[in-house]
């Protein structure tokens, strides 16, 4: 079956199978920022936006994307880089494998929440697992990026 989607601002037509998930469709289409970390929709690594809202692309049927606008990290490079600068300045991109899904969620949060508290940030991002960093450095980076109160790093 053929689907027409708006991928990062460009109309594309992709052939998909009936039970194919968007993560696999997009990766096969060369969208390599999408990574998968689980088989049970638990890790958040595969997060993309459908109609500007974050979704788990590993659990989103490609057929359902018909006619929709899909945004991946490739389509947000400038913004992603601006945030990644903070992440990298903290050293909190360790293996980096969780970063694309994490950044997609952070950028969605930025659009949704104004001046979020620590609790709100943590709540928004709970579905994004990271096994390397222990999350704290990511929080420091987010706060610096959003310009909310600077966290004094203790060493």
């Amino acid at each position: 079956m053929q689907i027409e989607i708006n991928l990062n601002g460009k109309k594309v037509s992709i052939k998909v199978k009936k039970n194919e998930m968007l993560a696999d469709t997009l990766r096969a289409h060369g969208v390599y920022s999408i990574r998968k970390g689980c088989d049970t929709a638990c890790c958040g690594l595969c997060t993309v936006w459908v109609e500007e809202k974050p979704v788990l692309s590993c659990a989103f049927l490609s057929l359902k994307a018909q006619g929709k606008s899909i945004t991946t990290l490739e389509g947000l490079q400038e913004e992603a880089e601006a945030f990644a600068q903070h992440l990298v300045a903290e050293g909190s991109e360790q293996c980096g494998f969780c970063s694309p899904g994490f950044i997609m969620t952070v950028l969605a949060m930025k659009r949704e929440l104004k001046n979020p508290s620590d609790e709100e940030i943590i709540h928004y991002l709970t579905g994004n697992l990271c096994r390397c960093t222990g999350y704290l450095g990511q929080l420091r980076a987010i706060k610096k990026y959003l310009g909310v109160a600077q966290h004094e790093f203790c060493r």
Binding site: S33, A80, A84, V88, C95, P100, I122
Partner: protein
Amino acid sequence: MNFVGKSIPKIDGMAIATGKPVYTEDLAPANALVVKLLRSPHAFARIRSIDVSKASKLKGIACVLTYKDVPRARFTLAGQSYPEPSPYDRLILDEIVRYVGDEVAIVAAADEETAEKAMKLIKVDYEVFEPVLDYEKAIDHRAVVHSESDLHCNFDIGMQKDRNIASSQKVEVGNVEEELQKCAVVVEETCYTKAQAHCMMETYRAFSYLDHTGRLVVVSSTQIPFHVRRQLARALNTPASRIRVIKPRIGGGFGGKQTGAVEMFAAIVTLRTGKPAKIIYDRKETFTATNSRHAMRLKVRLGADSEGFIRVVDIEGLSDTGAYGEHASTTFGVVGEKTLPLYNKTRAVRFMGNVVYTNKMPAGAFRGYGATQGTFALETAVNKLAEELNMDPAALRLKNLIKVGETTLVSEGKTLGSSTLHQCIEKGQALIGWKEKYPRQATGSSKVRGLGMAVTMQGSGIANIDTASAEIRLNDDGSYTLLIGSTDMGTGSDTILNQMAAEVLDTSVDTIIVHAADTDISPYDPGSYASSTTYVTGMAVVKAAEDLRRQIVESGARFMNAALEEVDFDGQTLSTLDGEKSISLQKIAELQVLGFGGSRQLVGYATHGSSVSPPPFIAGFAEVEVDQETGKIELVDYVAVIDCGTVINPNLAAIQAEGGLVQGIGMAMYEDVRHDAWGRMMTDSFMEYKIPTRKDIGSIKVVFEECFEPTGPFGAKSIGEVVINTPPPAIAHAVYNAVGVRVTDLPITPEKVFLKMQKPGHHR
């Protein structure tokens, strides 16, 4: 120092953070065959017959391989220097399957769907055996996990395979039983640690192809390219010189990728078909068919005199290596090696016990490598001893812990070169509010807060075994290329090695190209494990850079006709001290690389190994809040004060520490590998196996208490592993102080705490 001690951003940071295609799967050729594995549904069985005829005929199938199609030489997947202490007890595919998930057949197809279809068409008839599932009953069990006669050990590790004993060990200095008699207080505690899953976010994966000379190239998400090359050579019966292993960016390892997993399956398909092949494990396979931490039972006895000096440390252990013996003897040995030296006022110490085979997924290397298990047991016992002695546990430690310049019963006369552990304890006490809050504080509601602590040591590389080489070239344009074989798995080791070279050469980090790791190009390095990269590879880099610096100075002096003592090199220009003459680095490079007659490209080279493995130390402090009505535990605060020698890159070290602490918190409170009665692992997804989320951690403070390790590069020791060790015992201690319940089998769950609080005799 211009670079050492600075939080330089990681050289690959922006690429990996912004989703660039730099990981194994991103690099695989589009036409690679998809490799899938048919796995055993039984914990222990023999394949009576296997029929692949239907599967092989399917359109799009490239090959289906069974145990009849693979070489017969047994090998180990453990990533260890040759001769590996792990037994050669496995084949690529075996007639006997030894755990639920053990590989039965390899299927390679043009696409995933066809491969899956083919797997369903394979008919296997199993002769099912009674499995050995409970490791406490493995010794002398009716069933013998490894009865094959061609199992091979490179040296004596105390194996008695007929009794399911993979390794048996004993170290005793002094007479433990006699000294215990003389002690005023003796405590005993038996602790259980679980088979923790690594849960690196990038699952195991590799792809392979034949290059233009017909050599096998394997690109793998691995910590151990050189060991994988050797494993493949043996497993595939192919000379190592015909194999090349490349490590791209990898999505986490934590020791899991110190054991080969998938490489051999892709490689054999490529060798048989001549075609590129890729294999990507899903999360379930990663949970159930790779490796985990060794589950252990450790019984500790401590004896102290009436003044509170610890005179005896005695640890007796049992470790579950599962179906194969990867890292069996060595992880177990480390339990003793990283516990017995800590408290050095002892008169007798002993570590002994067995590692057993069972019919479960094999264990392997996991960050901490036995020290984590040992620390939980030892520190739990030390906390209990403090209570018996009626001493503050911090004071007991300050009185008994080893200091710089001292020896221990097990250190063969070698003295400790560096430590700030005593300061770490004092600083940690201040930061957690020990004086005000220890041991407990009521909150007014049903909740009580408790404080707990633990200390730990690890090593820095493996003494007398780990040997790394480094090469650094001066390129024709005056830039440098640093070649190393260590394997940055996200830790930032490529960056800190770059910092060290830049420091020696007085240059900036971006004038150095860092290349790692490729067995065709990189100098030999065992890989990144055993907390070795900063300390061992780091020293090799420093020596190589010094070697090159010396050559640069010699070369420049020669071109200027100046004496060596009369010149100075500032990293860019070599000048005579009187300022008369100078020559730029670029010019030296140009003349050396491009010049005719007598010149040669300048290359610094060094090989380094260390005869000691200096321990980094941590003092860890936990504050928990326990609900007395439900047993619910909340980690409120965690403080870790770390001595890793000189901190080469503070930000990267802090993230290593925070990440390791959270992994330790996971082990302490959530992570619980469970099997059903038939040996099937039930915790095979993130739904069943809970790793900490952002919500599960309270405040965590990481503080460095630096010192200078004389044998380390710029005074550095290691950081990667030691960070995971303190949370389990510190949190157990805090829970005990809050509600009087001592949980000695991990994880420390609300259910366990609640049930123990209901027991008669429980007070507080």
